[in-house]
């Protein structure tokens, strides 16, 4: 059989041929399940554009994206940072951006990696299925962009910027971690928006604008006011850890459009939440898939040795894990870790050792690596995945060690290494490092004094003495103060003992 292509040049014909060959392997031999694929060829500049808008094809406008663009552009121009070969979007159809500068082998690699690896993961992983709406995201983004642009026209860029700044500051506190999001289609979304505006317009009475303070409830006064507030207080369920949701629903001062903007920020934050929880798995899955597919292409003599060597070259640099003493060390490489664990699972399925049978009795030697992997890709996230599947061999290969950094001590203590007693400790610690709920501070709204001065009280539950970055927290709290409109207080409480840190209190009257 002739090669699909030779040499570095690519064109649309070759792209199509290679895609078809990859599709045959991915769907036919590996049994992957994917959304339909849409490949879009872009230039380096467009890639920078995509970087700036956090990888999304459509996004509302905000200065922080301009800042990101300016910084990435400088880094790229000066050669400090290369550009990604691809960006893939969790949408239906799955949009996969490839750069025009890539060689044909790189395009093949990108197709295997993004269009099949990531795509399969997006479609099958339970977090994505539960929390994101791949079919609706592009329409929602278009709606968000237009809505924000409209608001800029109606209320001015500055007013919109203030709300977006505040929303962005609270992004990580803007996700629901436990309840299931109700699904709403774009049409419903638009109808709701319109209805809200319609209501606002029909109930608008110029008389109210003459009242100082523009506050209907305070006009009602006296007992009526109390009753309203009591009812509200009952309606607010506390504690609430989704700060954006809380402010959107309960802030006494926000206008309808401001709530809608907060909602947009919150929806996007929620959309990215699964990605934050599955970095290792997602990249591991894509890397594993591209490795399998490219190897198969070579085995079937569809690509020549030169192309395969070029692929191996990029593949090895992607899964490289520098030691922590190395200058290049920048944390654990999720590509390397994910790929290593998945290769290990494959090995355990096919030719397990004594140790493997002890560690993984469920699937050791079951002879069905793809089935095992697919099940795992569907049902786990980083933390549970590492806790379940990180085996002693990978820990040994990476020569992992666990350090304890106790505040006040002038040294790190080695508490476990890659040996018989250490495997489980290392594994547990590593899994915890990838648990986003532990990385983000645990902050909740604990008290709203609706009957008094409407003070909002937030509480940070401190684990292991990990306090907030104070200056950043102060600025963030100012954003909350602006959204809430009344005094705001933040206190820090030790989660284990319940004692509060007096120095951790920030009060904005």
């Amino acid at each position: 059989m002739p090669f699909l292509y030779q040499g570095p040049e690519w064109n649309f014909d070759k792209l199509k041929r290679v895609h078809d060959a990859i599709e045959k392997i991915a769907l036919g031999e590996m049994g992957l399940e994917t959304y339909p694929i849409q490949i879009e060829v872009i230039t380096a500049e467009q890639m920078l554009d995509a970087y700036a808008s956090i990888g999304l094809p459509i996004l509302y406008r905000h200065w922080s994206f301009g800042k990101r663009f300016a910084r990435d552009e400088v880094l790229y121009r000066k050669g400090y940072q290369g550009l990604a070969y691809e960006i893939v979007i969790n949408s239906d159809p799955c949009i996969c951006y490839v750069m025009e500068e890539n060689s044909m082998t790189m395009q093949a690699l990108v197709l295997a990696h993004a269009a099949y690896g990531h795509n399969h993961f997006f479609k099958n992983n339970h977090l994505f299925r539960q929390w994101t709406d791949a079919a609706g995201i592009l329409d929602y983004l278009a709606f968000a962009r237009d809505f924000v642009a409209n608001c800029e026209d109606r209320y001015g860029i500055d007013a919109v910027e203030r709300v977006l700044d505040a929303g962005h500051a609270l992004q990580t506190q803007g996700v629901n971690r436990y309840t299931r999001r109700q699904k709403r289609s774009l049409a419903e979304e638009l109808a709701r928006e319109k209805e809200r505006r319609h209501y606002a317009e029909t109930t608008w009475n110029p008389l109210w604008t003459t009242v100082p303070g523009l506050d209907m409830e305070s006009e009602l006064g006296g007992t009526a006011q109390l009753a309203v507030d009591e009812e509200r207080a009952r309606a607010i369920e506390l504690p609430e850890e989704n700060l954006l949701y809380f402010l959107e629903k309960n802030s006494p001062v926000l206008h309808g459009w401001e709530r809608e903007i907060l909602r947009i920020v919150r929806v996007l934050s929620q959309y990215f939440y699964p990605q934050r929880q599955t970095k290792v798995m997602n990249e591991g899955c894509a890397t594993f898939v591209h490795y399998k597919i490219m190897t198969r292409l070579h085995e079937k003599s569809l690509i020549d040795d030169g192309a395969f060597l070029e692929f191996l070259h990029s593949h090895t640099s992607v899964v490289q894990q520098p030691d922590f003493t190395d200058k290049r060390y920048g944390g654990i490489n999720p590509y390397a870790l994910g790929f290593a664990v998945m290769r290990d699972i494959e090995r355990v399925c096919v030719e397990p050792t004594e140790e493997d049978i002890k560690w993984f009795p469920d699937f050791a030697g079951n002879g069905d690596p793809m089935g095992t992997l697919k099940e795992m890709w569907a049902d786990y996230r980083d933390e549970s995945f590492l806790l379940q599947f990180l085996g002693p061999k990978v820990i040994r290969d990476f020569r992992m060690l666990r350090l304890r950094d106790a505040s006040g001590e002038p040294y790190f203590e080695v508490t476990a290494i890659h040996d018989e007693q250490g495997y489980r400790d290392v594994r547990g610690a590593l899994a915890e490092e990838f648990e986003s709920a532990r990385l983000d501070p645990e902050i909740q709204v604990v008290e709203v004094d609706l009957l008094g001065d409407r003070r909002l009280t937030l509480e940070h539950r401190v684990h292991e003495g990990q306090r907030l970055d104070r200056s950043s927290a102060g600025k963030t709290l100012q954003h909350i103060r602006a959204l809430w409109g009344y005094p705001v207080r933040l206190c820090e409480v030790d989660a284990a003992t319940g004692e509060s840190f007096p120095s951790g209190e920030i009060d904005l009257p």
Partner: protein, 426 residues
């Protein structure tokens, strides 16, 4: 599967975001532009030179954990440690190296560059130019295509036959392609040999002919590598040439603020001339009680002491015009900046120099009187300066002389008002 080519989509998708960023850091951008103006030569005001803007204080706050507290983390690549070992912490900051980097504020500080257009926008904003004028100054000049060598690709109508044939000839010679004449000659000899019945010679000739033919087939007469196209380059339309005289009083009474105003004034005139003329020369003449022609650095940066005799500068200008810039070949523009001081006894000479020579020779004479803020100093001022009164005397309808006082950059434009509006009419 769908493949879509997005490369031709409109560019600058994140431009609106950039504009919002510029709004956000307006003060810092202005400062950078002011610094850049101080550092630029006048002829560089329009140069496509990036202006670096160091940005700080636009962090995006969030609730995040600081460096303190106890934590455990896993590192790869253990070489020598066993359980219970202690590793001294690095001296600066606690926590693992990578974690400290996450929460550091360093990433909020960075430098980005303003494009030429953005630089001019802000430059013009300070000068409070009317929009029409801004637009005209930003326009790039008209261009015509001009021949610029050869290229290997191009449109068929740009094919250069001569060059292509010459390349073909060279290649055919180098590869020793047989000529048609040689072939014809061989064929006649073959015919002769066959007629003579010399079979051996005929066979050899036939073989040779075959080889010739094969060579002819393999080495084409014209090969794609021979083809050359004429290459064109867009060159600015040559209109004419102009010389711009910058005259400035550098006596001790001119302070930095005044010099900055003067510089912007000169830059604006330069921009205007640069749009209209293909080549613009600049002559710098500074004066105290005596004048001399100097280079740009000396002009703006060196200090002189002495009295103030304006006519000396005018005389140097006249000399330079006579010597190097014949009136019939050059458009002459004169821009003078001064704080208005002049010796009363010099008045006659100034009027003489102006009427006798300069006002006839030049297209436009712009005089800017600079002073310190506050801006309302002129309204309340009863006495005008010596030089101002002198020039006012010369001002008649039709005289290309414009006078203006400025205490801030926004007032400079007035002196050119007539110049720009005349340009709009023509």
């Amino acid at each position: 599967m769908n493949i879509i080519d997005r490369r031709l989509n409109p560019k600058g998708k994140s431009l609106p975001n950039r504009q919002r960023l510029l709004r956000r850091v307006k003060a810092q951008v202005r400062e950078a532009v002011a610094q850049s103006i101080a550092g630029r030569r006048i002829s560089e005001v329009d140069a496509d030179k990036a202006v670096p803007v160091p940005v700080h204080g636009i962090g995006e706050p969030s609730f995040r954990k600081g460096a303190d507290g106890n934590r455990e983390f896993v590192l790869p690549g253990n070489q020598k440690f066993i359980k219970g070992d202690r590793i001294p912490k690095p001296p600066s900051g606690g926590g693992g190296g990578h974690e400290a980097a996450d929460s550091g504020s360093g990433e909020d500080d960075f430098t980005f560059s303003l494009s030429r257009k953005e630089f001019l926008d802000i430059f013009f904003d300070d000068l409070e130019l009317p929009d029409m004028v801004k637009r005209r100054l930003k326009e790039s000049t008209a261009t015509v295509p001009a021949r610029a060598g050869y290229t290997v690709s191009g449109a068929p109508q740009a094919l250069d036959v001569l060059r292509t044939m010459r390349n073909g000839l060279a290649r055919r010679l180098a590869l020793r392609r047989p000529r048609q004449e040689d072939l014809a000659e061989l064929e006649t000899s073959l015919a002769e040999a066959e007629a003579a019945g010399d079979i051996v010679a005929a066979a050899m000739l036939a073989q040779k002919i075959e080889a010739f033919r094969r060579r002819l087939r393999l080495i084409p007469w014209i090969d794609p590598v021979d083809v050359r196209y004429r290459r064109f380059e867009q060159r600015p339309v040559p209109i004419a040439q102009a010389v711009m005289f910058c005259l400035m009083d550098v006596s001790g009474s001119m302070n930095e603020h005044m010099k900055d105003l003067a510089k912007r004034f000169f830059m604006l005139l330069y921009l205007f001339l640069d749009r209209r003329y293909k080549a613009v020369d600049i002559v710098f003449i500074r004066h105290t009680h005596e004048a001399q022609e100097v280079d740009e650095d000396t002009f703006f940066h060196s200090r002189e002491t002495g009295g103030t005799v304006v006519s000396s500068a005018l005389q140097v200008a006249i000399d330079v015009i006579d010597e190097r810039y014949p009136v019939d070949a050059w458009n002459i523009y004169i821009a003078q900046a001064s704080d208005g001081d002049n010796l009363t006894s010099d008045r006659g000479r100034v009027i003489d120099a102006m009427t006798r020579k300069l006002l006839q020779a030049c297209q436009y004479f712009a005089y800017l009187e600079v002073d310190d803020p506050p801006a309302d100093v002129w309204e309340g001022r009863s006495t005008t300066s010596e030089l101002w009164r002198t020039y006012q005397e010369l001002q008649r309808p039709g005289t290309p002389l414009a006078l203006r006082r400025a205490t801030a950059a926004g007032q400079i434009f007035g002196v050119f008002h007539e110049l720009f509006s005349r340009d709009a009419v023509s």
